[in-house]
């Protein structure tokens, strides 16, 4: 079993909403438990009276960070599939400052305001109304500032990539930094706020006994130390090839897709797969299967698609595709398929199907419809014309069909909803 489960298709959208609800319950529960339903407790962070915000937030961050690291490093999770909000440095700095100011004035952040509103805090409810007003106002202004909203794009980038440091080293550094910050926070609470730390739930308070909190800190520090020495959590660099498994899959034909099936998928407008044409650019321009994308074999790099994406490879007769299949399998791609027989087979069976005595009338009718959809012409019995095929190849864009036309399917892609917050 491989995580993230959703991205490997273990369950669908509907189930994901139910999971969202359950995860949300956990989120809200712990926020309230920590006291984040109270604006006064939250705001105390900024007057050094009660630094719970810092403690809770960074404990959560280092817990999840080391957890993700360890699971990925053990090969149970593909970190490259976890959604990373793209970085736009200037907007994020401006937005962050604005949020900080809003935090002190309003007393909540969006997540905590939900918890405060539902536990009866009127200011939390008013805050939510204010947030909705802010969103409404921002939406009206957005068209004018749209260009600034995506300034300084840096893509999906981690600190490890930015500073060119090992991921594990950064994990360790963040854990140490957080533990240091906790001690400083307890010291500040005592100095500025005059709050005597509770010996059971504190790092620095005497007596030096092993409390659950200290055990937790040691566990996190140990996990951080493992990260320091264990290497990179991203999967690509250490994918292992199970030759036996590969051989079985290649031998059984489970690695290939029939042209008829592909044609059906395209007609239905399915877009849950990536059709990759491995031929050269000129061949691709002359003719290609609708929805295909051109990636010549020589320029095939491991990051051209996500590891869990369904990829269908096609080339002239299938040899190129077979080479690419092994390359991608070795890179740890999970579901790569060959188009059986390549484009040649596509021409023979989809674009220009032939009728023989054995073909059933109804089946041929269906083939004719399919061929028409893709702009080909069915061949009558005996009049095979392989020589003329090259001339008669249809134009790249197939004629629009009323049933499931291709442009409609293509339009879905860019309007996909945002994944981030």
């Amino acid at each position: 079993m491989s995580a993230p489960f959703y991205k490997f298709g273990l369950f669908g959208d509907e189930a994901s909403f139910i999971i969202a609800f359950v995860i949300g319950i956990g989120f809200g529960f712990f926020l309230e438990r920590a006291g984040f339903g109270s604006g006064r407790k939250l705001a105390a962070q900024f007057y050094f009276r009660d630094l719970s915000v810092l403690k809770v937030m960074f404990t959560a961050i280092i817990t999840a960070m080391t957890g993700v690291y360890l699971l990925s490093r053990l090969g149970m999770m593909d970190l490259s599939l976890v959604y990373l909000v793209p970085t736009f440095l200037v907007p994020q700095i401006v937005g962050g400052l604005l949020l900080g100011v809003g935090f002190v004035i309003g007393g909540y952040c969006p997540g905590t305001s939900c918890v405060s509103a539902v536990t009866g805090r009127i200011d939390g409810m008013v805050y939510l109304v204010g947030m909705i007003a802010g969103l409404l106002g921002f939406a009206e202004v957005y068209p004018y500032v749209q260009n600034y909203a995506h300034m300084t794009p840096m893509g999906q980038i981690t600190l490890a990539k930015l500073f060119n440091l090992p991921y594990g080293l950064l994990v360790f550094a963040v854990v140490l930094m957080a533990l240091g910050a906790f001690m400083a926070a307890e010291w500040a609470e005592k100095k500025v706020g005059g709050k005597e730390p509770d010996p059971k739930g504190s790092f620095i308070a005497r007596p030096w006994r092993l409390t659950p909190v200290r055990i937790l800190a040691m566990g996190l520090a140990a996990a951080g130390f493992v990260a320091l020495v264990a290497g990179d959590p991203y999967r690509g660099s250490h994918a292992t090839i199970d030759t036996k498994d590969l051989a079985i899959r290649a031998g059984s034909g489970a690695d290939s897709i029939q042209v008829g099936q592909l044609a059906d998928w395209i007609i239905q407008g399915r877009n849950d797969f990536k059709l990759v044409d491995l031929r050269s650019g000129t061949d691709f321009a002359a003719y290609h299967i609708p929805t295909a994308e051109n990636v010549p074999l020589a320029s095939l790099t491991p990051d051209f698609a996500a590891h869990n994406e369904k990829i269908i490879l096609c080339s002239e007769d299938g040899t190129q595709a077979a080479k690419a299949w092994f390359l991608l399998e070795a890179q740890g791609f999970k579901s790569v398929y060959l188009l059986d027989g390549g484009l040649r087979s596509w021409q023979d069976m989809i674009l220009f199907p032939k009728k023989s005595d054995k073909t059933d009338e109804a089946v041929f009718d269906r083939q004719m419809q399919v061929a028409k959809f893709f702009g080909g012409t069915p061949q009558a019995e005996g009049t095979s014309a392989p020589a003329s095929v090259a001339v008669a190849l249809p134009q790249v864009a197939p004629p629009a069909q009323p049933a499931v036309s291709e442009p409609a399917a293509a339009k879905v892609q860019p309007k996909k909803k945002k994944e981030g917050c």
Partner: protein, 353 residues
């Protein structure tokens, strides 16, 4: 192959939105009507049972016996109005009452509804002066009527029995209305009748419980309920309402919710062990396009969460709040909306897809 069946579907079954534009013909009016109908049925049964089972002195549960039927009258009228909105030929509504078709749930329904009004009114009148003294002061005739009814035991029992009987009929009818429609495999189950009856009972109990929580005197009132319906509290402030009924209602609501959950399970189990078409209809709720809203709104928020909250209230672990009430009421609405909408999406041709 899938494309092929899609083609067949277009030509054979005429489930083509461009050709048959009105497949989804029941909008919000029907589920709202079913919800109000179920709730009124529940209010009637509770009021009737209390009228029969308790002696006059014990009948301090005025919330159940008077406020319940009064609200019932209001909601019934609302429900009838939404049903009326749904009719295409509104002026011909009287024709429903020129005939009685024994095989038609519609005909049964329209006649049952005609019996509901007098039963509810009679029930409300019995204890009205005690429940709302201000009203009785202004209209002394109410006291006369109340005295007249209460002086005759047979009348009281008769009103009680009539309320219970008509209530059960109304509750079951709201489910059978859907169940009798063979064209929609999801509704094709006799369990829908009792399911809607118990769902109606649970929403009615929750509603009464909510009113009780809000109308308890100030010092005992949970602060959280303050901002909602305090006007209603004003109305009944003259006489503090009975405290012992709160836990009784919460306990009753828990049983109704449990039965409702079991019936939902039976309903889905019946479909899952039936033909492929029924299995697909049920999977619309379990995993299909209504999966998320069904599990989250109906099961999670509408049944399980209020069950947990009310159990904690009964154990005195937490205070009585109106949160479970709101959840149960919205769960009841959600159940009917989802069943009506998903039902219209399920059809006999689905098995081929």
């Amino acid at each position: 192959m899938i494309a092929l069946t899609a083609l067949t579907e277009l030509t054979v079954s005429r489930h083509n939105p461009l050709v048959d534009p009105h497949l989804h013909i029941w909008e919000w009016q029907i589920p709202v009507y079913l919800f109000f109908g179920g709730m009124v049925a529940g209010l009637m049964i509770i009021a009737g049972v209390r009228l029969i089972a308790l002696r006059p002195q014990q009948r301090e549960a005025l919330v159940c016996c008077t406020i319940g039927p009064l609200i019932g009258l209001f909601f019934l009228s609302l429900g009838m109005f939404t049903l009326f909105l749904d009719l295409s030929h509104k002026l011909y509504v009287w024709r429903l009452y020129t005939t009685f078709q024994i095989t038609s749930p519609m005909s049964w329904g329209s006649w049952i509804l005609l019996l509901v009004y007098p039963a509810l009114v009679a029930n409300a009148l019995a204890h009205l002066p005690e429940a709302i003294p201000a009203l009785a002061k202004r209209f002394p005739i109410l006291v006369t009527v109340s005295d007249f009814i209460l002086a005759r035991v047979q009348w009281v029992v008769g009103i009680g029995v009539a309320n219970v009987m008509v209530g059960i009929a109304l509750g079951i009818y709201t489910g059978i209305l859907l169940g009798a429609l063979g064209a929609r495999p999801l509704w094709n189950s006799a369990v829908l009748g009792p399911l809607f009856l118990f769902s109606g009972l649970s929403t009615a109990t929750a509603l009464l419980h909510g009113i009780l929580v809000i109308t308890t005197p100030d010092e005992e009132r949970p602060a959280f309920a303050d901002f909602l319906l305090s006007a209603l509290a004003q109305l009944t402030q003259a006489r503090p309402l009975d405290k012992n009924v709160g836990p009784v209602l919460a306990r009753a609501d828990n049983s109704f919710l449990t039965i409702e959950l079991a019936l939902l399970g039976l309903f889905l189990l019946g479909h899952m062990t039936s033909t492929g078409i029924h299995q697909q209809a049920a999977s619309l709720l379990l995993t299909g396009s209504y999966g998320a809203v069904f599990w989250v709104f109906v099961i999670g928020l509408g049944i399980v969460l209020p069950l947990v909250l009310q159990s904690l209230e009964l154990q005195n672990r937490i205070r009585h709040t109106i949160a479970p009430v709101i959840l149960v009421v919205f769960g009841g609405i959600a159940l009917r909306f989802i069943l009506v909408y998903a039902g219209q999406e399920s059809h006999w041709f689905q098995a081929l897809n």
